[in-house]
């Protein structure tokens, strides 16, 4: 692998976004920068971690055709019928210093082309382990030909006590009349850092459905970027983030409605407890001439602690007349009346709070568009909620 000289790489790291950039106002990437500098300074070695057991555990839990990228290296490559797979050394040029960093440090990129109606989902496991500070990149492009259909499971996880920073890019092209269902599960170690971008181009009369689940991570920034340049597109995506002490989870979404008619709908929900911070910033841009656009966005948050902080920001930019746009944001505690109702039936306070919190999350879990992943998602969400709720006794203040 030919790589840029270390000082050129360090220069890219210095250009990573800072809170002075409007889109990064709430998320400070100092930790990502610091880990990268340290790792580059120490020779930028790829950790030789043994991850076989972890990989086996995840890939056997969900029935999918798995592609595994461990510490940035492709370790498992399946070749399902109706799918063409090739390694990419260099991702296409993309805007921004994160994409630049990704291209400069990428070891194994992946390009997957789907030309059929896939039965089994494509599983993209991006897994890292850090015993010493390390940085990894992933770039995966999935292209669905017109009239094709399939499902994608994007699974991000990590372990290890040392600092780790993962920078991932997944791009999905949904061809004309194609239908793609996508879930993203993020269950990284509670101290690790990730910047993840999912970019989707939606074709004419095509359908894209997605659900993201952020359960772990120390500092997590997701950018969900959807581009609608063809009429008849139908896009809907959800996100659930569960954050406890020390976690920072930032979900930025952007939908560009360039032509109409087309529909986009998004709903993000968050449950926060302890000292943590989450951000939901939903931007929808209805460009000039995108008549017949129907865009809806919602963000609901449950704050179980007064130390938890949420920044919820809908941003609608509308440059045409014939549109239907709506947004709604709520931030609240558990409903006191409902808690009393449950307690008056004999359920203790903890149990009452627990079932109401589970119910809040369950709505999105039930809608996850890849059925075979739902059982795993349910287990992960329930396990995370159990520890999240325990971490703070008081739900009423």
């Amino acid at each position: 692998m030919t790589r840029l000289p270390t000082d050129a790489l360090q220069a890219i790291v210095q250009r990573l976004p800072t809170p002075r950039d409007e889109d990064w106002k709430y998320t400070d990437l100092s930790r990502a920068r610091e880990i990268s500098e340290r790792w580059l300074g120490a020779g930028a070695a790829v950790p030789a971690a043994v991850l076989a057991d972890d990989i086996e555990r995840i890939t056997s839990d969900i029935d999918a055709n798995w592609f595994v990228i461990a510490n940035g290296e492709l370790t498992i490559l399946t070749k399902p019928v109706g799918v063409a797979v090739e390694k990419v050394k260099k991702p296409p040029a993309m805007e921004g210093s994160l994409a630049e960093l990704n291209a400069a440090l990428l070891i194994d990129g992946l390009r997957i082309r789907v030309n059929a109606e896939l039965e089994k989902p494509l599983g993209l496991l991006i897994i890292d382990h850090a015993d010493e500070a390390s940085v990894s990149q992933a770039f995966i492009h999935v292209e669905f030909a017109s009239h094709s259909a399939g499902k994608i499971i994007e699974y991000h996880t990590s372990s290890g006590s040392a600092d780790q920073y993962a920078n991932t890019i997944v791009t999905i092209d949904v061809g004309d009349n194609a239908s793609v269902r996508h879930v993203r599960i993020q269950d990284r170690a509670r101290t690790h850092v990730q910047t993840g971008r999912t970019m989707v181009n939606v074709g004419r009369d095509a359908r894209f459905q997605s659900s993201g689940f952020d359960l772990g991570g120390g500092l997590i920034r997701n950018d969900m970027i959807i581009d609608i340049s063809n009429p008849g597109a139908d896009v809907s995506f959800d996100g659930l983030y569960l954050a406890g002490d020390g976690q920072h989870i930032d979900n930025h979404t952007r939908v560009d409605h360039r032509v109409g008619p087309a529909t986009s709908r998004q709903e993000y929900r968050g449950i926060l407890n302890g000292k943590c911070r989450c951000i939901w910033n939903g931007k929808a841009i209805v460009h000039e001439g995108a008549d017949g656009t129907d865009a809806d966005q919602a963000n609901h948050n449950l704050l179980l602690s007064d130390k938890a902080e949420i920044d919820a920001k809908p941003e609608l930019e509308i440059y045409t007349d014939d549109v239907k746009c709506s947004h709604g944001t709520t931030v609240g505690q558990l409903d006191e009346t409902a808690l009393f109702y449950l307690r008056s039936r004999g359920l203790d306070k903890q149990h009452a709070a627990q079932i109401m919190t589970h119910a809040f999350a369950a709505g999105l879990v039930g809608r996850a568009p890849v059925e075979v992943a739902r059982e795993k998602i349910t287990a992960l969400v329930e396990a995370r909620l159990a520890t999240l709720i325990q971490s703070d006794e008081d739900f009423s203040e």
Binding site: A338, L342, R343, S344, R345, L347, I355, A359
Partner: protein
């Protein structure tokens, strides 16, 4: 069973109960009537343990124990049931789950094991049939999208499943059509027994045509101003509440 002595309670700075006393024995059905704002619902909420109501004076004992010391869930497990005037919608928590959790909380308190799943279903279906409820309500969210009548039937279903020793029904009759009213009355009458007591909080005499009370009390400005047998309810229906209010303030 329930002894309330000189109870004073307020919400915020507003005193609502002003020295209320009431004694309810096992086997009795009491009706508490009175104009809006007289403190009927407050009484029900205080007995159930709602935290917004502060008790400033007096005592409430249940089976000889100080009730005011107990959390709402402990009161429920001891055998008190409050049928809400406005049953709460809890989307995402299904009715069967709540019924089972409530039943098991009580059984655990009694030192019993969890109810068998088959047994539970059989019991729930029977109770629902007697209340004219479609079994599909079991799998719906608690009161989610229920009509007024469906919500009240659901309260009675919970009561029927939990078999409380003391049931307090807060305006369970309000907003019900005649069929729903009869179903509610059937549920309540089925619970009547020498070991149990029922307190009906109501604004109208209508419910008492179907559930015959042993005692009728009139609440006005936070105190019971008159008690009698069921004929008092007819008298109230005829004369309204004004004459009592005048009598109370005199």
């Amino acid at each position: 069973m329930l002894e309330i002595k000189n109870l004073r309670s307020r919400i915020g700075d507003t005193e609502i109960l002003r020295g209320l006393s009431l004694s309810v024995n096992a086997g009795e059905v009491h009706a508490i009537m009175g104009p809006n704002g007289s403190g009927k619902s407050t009484l029900a909420q205080v007995v159930a343990g709602h935290q917004d109501y502060e008790v400033t004076d007096g005592s409430v004992t249940f089976k000889g124990n100080d009730l005011l010391e107990l959390e709402p869930e402990e009161r429920a497990r001891e055998g008190i049931f409050l049928g809400f005037q406005y049953p709460v919608e809890i989307p995402g928590v299904n009715n069967a789950y709540l019924l089972k959790a409530a039943l098991n909380a009580k059984r655990k308190h009694q030192g019993l094991g969890e109810i068998d799943a088959f047994e539970f279903l059989k019991m729930a279906r029977e109770k629902m049939a007697s209340l004219g409820m479609d079994p599909k309500f079991l799998n719906r969210g608690v009161n989610e999208g229920f009509s007024g009548g469906e919500k009240k039937r659901n309260e009675i279903l919970q009561m029927a499943m939990l078999e409380p020793e003391l049931a307090i029904l807060d305006e369970t009759d309000s907003g019900l059509d005649i069929d729903a009213l009869k179903a509610v009355a059937t549920g309540v009458n089925a619970l009547r027994s020498p070991d149990r007591a029922i307190v009906l909080v109501t604004h109208y005499q209508r419910l008492l045509d179907y559930i015959e009370p042993d005692f009728v009390h009139v609440l006005s400005e936070g105190r019971i101003v008159k008690s009698g047998d069921k004929t008092l309810a007819f008298e109230l229906e005829e004369k309204g509440y004004d004459w009592l209010r005048e009598a109370a303030s005199a």
